[in-house]
């Protein structure tokens, strides 16, 4: 029982959310999704803007009531629990710091509502301030803090409640790139240290890949794929996921032969063998092959397929090549580790393209 409780800690079952403006214009923001979250996991909702991430999060927090479906926490239905009774503090994209309260009062807000004693409040706030590195700022107002500090106040205000679960809505999107990377390790560290379950919304794939135990990819209100970062990265189950998570290249191909556990497709008149998927293909069908940039190699030796170099960009540890291939463009990435020297090609030069065939994924067009 206890075991089950931990495995199915937060459960969303057949959740749908339809917004209607009263004039018959309905928007289905979330379309019949189901999701199970393990206790202590860091789970990310990842998807393009407008795919329903925030709406999902707000339903969990209780700010939107789902049009259909159930939400359960630790085996208890919480559909009818008021938002202020859910104890799932949320870190808002806007931080939502109370501008009329000091940093101390902001952090203590939830504790005061829970009518804790003064000493406990002082103590807890001090502890959390220490943890997120806000000591010395307690008497300032939010308007007097930098963006990074404001972000940490928002985090502290949630953490101080010692919640079992914490919700994040793109908490880092207002920080600059360097601070963003720094803060995401910070959040992850605190989450693991305190053993909190986290439901984290982002549209940034590197954020999702680096922080998550599980990633939930969403597209147009539906779940496209759920899995660990490695699973999702290495085995995207659809061209949408392949494109979104790995910036995959897509190559047009023709199915020429269907074997028992592999398919043969033709590109530029050459045969390529790819592993079978659950999808059924027929002979002669036009398909898409997805391959990640790092599985594409280019050279001047006539080994593989023909392409034309469009542009190359040296990016420090890697070099990115844009290649014209079959009336479209593909990207190849080479790592510039010591020992490997950067390959020099001229713009517009004919190059030979090779693919690491183990990394091909085949999708319907």
């Amino acid at each position: 029982m206890e075991q089950n409780n931990n495995e199915n800690y937060l459960v969303l079952k057949d959740i749908t959310k339809v917004f209607s403006d009263g004039r018959g214009n309905d928007v289905t923001a979330v379309d019949n999704i189901s999701l199970t979250i393990k206790k202590g996991d860091f789970v990310t909702l990842l998807g393009p803007s407008g795919c329903g991430k925030t709406t999902t999060l707000r339903m969990v927090a209780g700010f939107e009531l789902q049009t259909a479906g159930d939400i359960a926490l630790a085996d208890k239905l919480i559909n009818n629990v008021a938002p202020f009774d859910r104890n799932m503090p949320m870190v808002f994209q806007s931080y939502a710091l109370f501008p009329h309260l000091t940093i101390f009062e902001n952090i203590a807000y939830g504790l005061k509502i829970r009518k804790l004693s003064k000493e406990v409040i002082m103590n807890d706030v001090a502890m959390v301030s220490q943890m997120v590195n806000l000591v010395g700022l307690e008497n300032r107002y939010p308007g007097e803090l930098s963006g990074g500090q404001q972000q940490r106040v928002a985090l502290a205000r949630a953490l101080v409640l010692k919640p079992e679960i914490i919700l994040f809505d793109e908490p880092l999107s207002n920080l600059d790139a360097k601070l963003r990377i720094q803060t995401r390790t910070e959040i992850k560290r605190v989450q693991q240290m305190m053993g909190i379950t986290a439901l984290y919304v982002t549209h940034d794939q590197s954020e999702a890949l680096s922080m998550s135990d599980q990633i939930v990819i969403m597209n147009r209100g539906e779940i496209a794929q759920v899995g660990s970062p490695e699973e999702i990265y290495n085995n995207p189950n659809s061209s949408f996921v392949a494109d979104f998570i790995g910036n995959a290249n897509f190559i047009d191909a023709n199915v020429s032969e269907i074997g028992s556990d592999s398919l043969t497709v033709t590109v530029q008149g050459k045969s390529i063998s790819v592993g079978k998927t659950t999808e059924e293909f027929s002979e002669g069908e036009e398909v898409s092959l997805a391959i990640k940039p790092e599985a594409v190699d280019i050279s001047l030796e006539p080994t593989g397929f023909l392409g034309k170099l469009d542009v190359s960009s040296f990016l420090g540890s890697i070099t990115e090549y844009k290649i014209e291939f079959e009336n479209s463009f593909i990207i190849a990435i080479h790592s510039n580790t010591a020992g490997h020297t950067m390959k020099h090609f001229k713009m517009g030069e004919e190059v030979h393209v090779d693919f690491n065939k183990d990394f091909f994924h085949i999708y319907k067009k």
Binding site: A82, N87, M88, F98, P99, G110, I113, P142, A158
Partner: protein, 562 residues
């Protein structure tokens, strides 16, 4: 040391900007001169008269006022009325603002109109309705309840009509502030465990508090300086503005009248300074970060219903007053003979048509002058820098703080003899309209111009546009709503003016509101109703035409200024 040197150099530069741009220089001088002549000088004239006795400086008028219970009583009455009305009107205005901004109640559009409707009404239209409904021959008191009452004259009646007249001020101050409170904050408070009630009291209300304070002060001053309502419905309840008027024109005691008007100036100027220098700095800085800006869930169904019922009842009450005025126009003898008639119209147009025409002409003449002057001052204040700019800014806003009664008295004293012999002319009325209403245009213009960051204009220039093109295509369209809002307000205020112009009208140039007042005093309530009705129609038609011509919405016109 180095700092002060730098400052001096900057000053020199800013003076240089003025002298190197002759058009600007002449413009600033002309504007300053007219502000001094039409705002400072009359005020000085009134102050001087109140502070002299037999030609020498003396505080005897004030001494007299403060040592006689008769006058002390009217001061106390004014303050008491102001406190009660400010509190109630702010409450009503807050409920409207909250219901519309946060509650998102059904029929928001209707309630938005109702929240500003009283602004475009003649100054004592509500007083007139209250007499028709609750007076000695009132429909409700005398006919329906068979009460023999004159209780509506005095504090009770005044509170009712002033609250109805002034809750729009509170609404307009508060609605923007409530809309500015990020719903994420309320959502977040609830997320942290605060019940809706608690969220309201720990987040929403404290954030609205500076606005509530500002609105309270504005209504307080509005009540204190109101003249139209107390003179009609005040009865035995003596207030300062009416006392000053009666003293000045009725008893011919000019110095005492001036002194009483000067007393009104104390709280209004005080509030002006509080507004300008304290509340502005107290406003909370909005925190950066992208808000989800989703509707807040902080208002429950039950609360929504409560808000809806409250706003509906107030709205119906206000509408009842309009219905009363319109019916009053058609009823032969209110409460005695209910048969329908056009004789009030015949009579009213007989006595009032010329006045209506003159009132309209003067309003139409002064409106564009006011709007253009306001925008020019705003432009200079925002875009130019020169020594003495603060003086321009201050003077142009100052007239907002001077009670109409003091303005009227000041104008009579200042402009009844050479070299400025203007009394009795149309010019003096136009001057009053322009200089009393220009602060609204200035304020709206400044707000609009400040929104247009230098970047916007620079990027237009950067894209190849000439200065003139940028002004025409970028700057002008962006300040256009503020310009027409200022113009509409100027028109409405010119049409509904009373407290200052009652001192300045003449047989040749009368004002409709003064005529309505006269008709009410001789108990020709039917004619007074017709004239009020006509005034409302004129204002509505004008507003409608502006809206049609400019394509602006009602909320753009009545929402950009407050």
């Amino acid at each position: 040391m180095a700092n002060s040197k730098l400052k001096r150099r900057l000053n020199k530069n800013s003076f240089h900007q003025l002298t190197s741009d002759p058009a600007l220089f002449i413009g600033v001088i002309l504007i300053l001169a007219s502000l001094v002549l039409f705002i400072v000088y009359p005020l000085y004239a009134a102050a001087k008269l109140s502070l002299s006795s037999d030609g020498v400086f003396s505080l005897s008028q004030y001494q007299y006022i403060f040592t006689h219970s008769y006058y002390r009583k009217s001061i106390m009455n004014s303050v008491m009325l102001g406190v009660i009305v400010a509190t109630l009107a702010t409450f009503v205005g807050f409920i409207f603002a909250y219901a519309i901004a946060k509650g998102k109640i059904r029929g928001s559009g209707f309630f938005q109109s109702m929240a500003i409707l009283p602004i475009i009404s003649p100054p004592f239209m509500f007083a007139l309705s209250v007499i028709l409904l609750f007076g000695r021959n009132g429909l409700i008191t005398a006919k329906l309840l068979h009460l023999d009452t004159s209780g509506v004259y005095g504090l009770k009646g005044l509170v009712i009509v002033q609250v109805i007249t002034m809750y729009p001020i509170a609404y307009m101050t508060l609605v923007g502030i409530l809309q500015g409170i990020d719903p994420d904050l309320e959502t977040c408070a609830m997320n942290l465990g605060a019940k809706r009630f608690k969220t309201f009291f720990t987040v929403t209300l404290p954030l609205a508090l500076p606005g509530i304070f500002a609105s309270w002060l504005l209504v307080f001053v509005g009540s204190l300086t109101d003249f139209g309502n107390p003179i009609i419905i005040g009865g035995e309840f003596d207030v300062l503005s009416v006392r000053a008027y009666l003293e000045f024109t009725g008893m011919g005691n000019l110095p005492r009248g001036a002194a009483l008007a000067m007393l009104l100036l104390v709280p209004t100027v005080g509030v002006f300074f509080i507004q300008k220098y304290i509340i502005k700095n107290k406003a909370y800085v909005t925190i950066t970060g992208k808000s989800s800006r989703r509707g807040s869930t902080s208002v429950t169904k039950g609360a929504k219903n409560g808000l809806f019922i409250f706003t509906l009842l107030v709205s119906l009450f206000v509408l009842l007053f309009y219905v009363t005025i319109i019916s009053g126009s058609f009823i032969k003898l209110w409460s005695v003979d209910w048969s329908l008639t056009f004789k009030h119209f015949v009579y009213a147009f007989d006595v009032g048509l010329t006045t209506l025409k003159n009132t309209l002409v003067l309003a139409i003449v002064s409106t564009p002058i006011t709007a253009v002057l306001g925008m020019v001052i705003a432009f200079i204040v925002v875009r130019k820098s020169f020594a003495g700019k603060q003086v321009l800014d201050f003077l142009s806003m100052l007239s907002y703080a001077i009670p109409g009664t003091a303005v009227g008295i000041g104008y009579i004293l200042a402009f009844n003899k050479a070299p400025f012999k203007l009394s009795g002319t149309a010019f003096i009325l136009v001057a009053v309209y322009v200089f009393r209403n220009v602060p609204i245009g200035v304020q709206g213009g400044i707000a609009a111009l400040k929104q247009i960051s230098g970047d916007i204009e620079e990027s237009s220039t950067n894209l190849g546009a000439s200065t003139a093109y940028t002004f025409r295509k970028i700057t002008l369209p962006l300040v256009r709503p503020a310009f027409f809002a200022g113009a509409t307000f100027a028109f409405v205020r010119s049409m509904t003016a009373i407290s200052a112009i009652i001192f300045l009208v003449s047989a040749r140039w009368n004002h409709l509101t003064v005529l309505i007042l006269a008709q009410t005093e001789i108990m020709r309530l039917g004619a007074a109703s017709v004239l009020s009705f006509a005034l409302i129609v004129v204002i509505m038609v004008f507003t409608f035409i502006i809206m049609k011509l400019t394509g602006l919405k009602q909320s753009q016109i009545f929402g950009t200024t407050n």
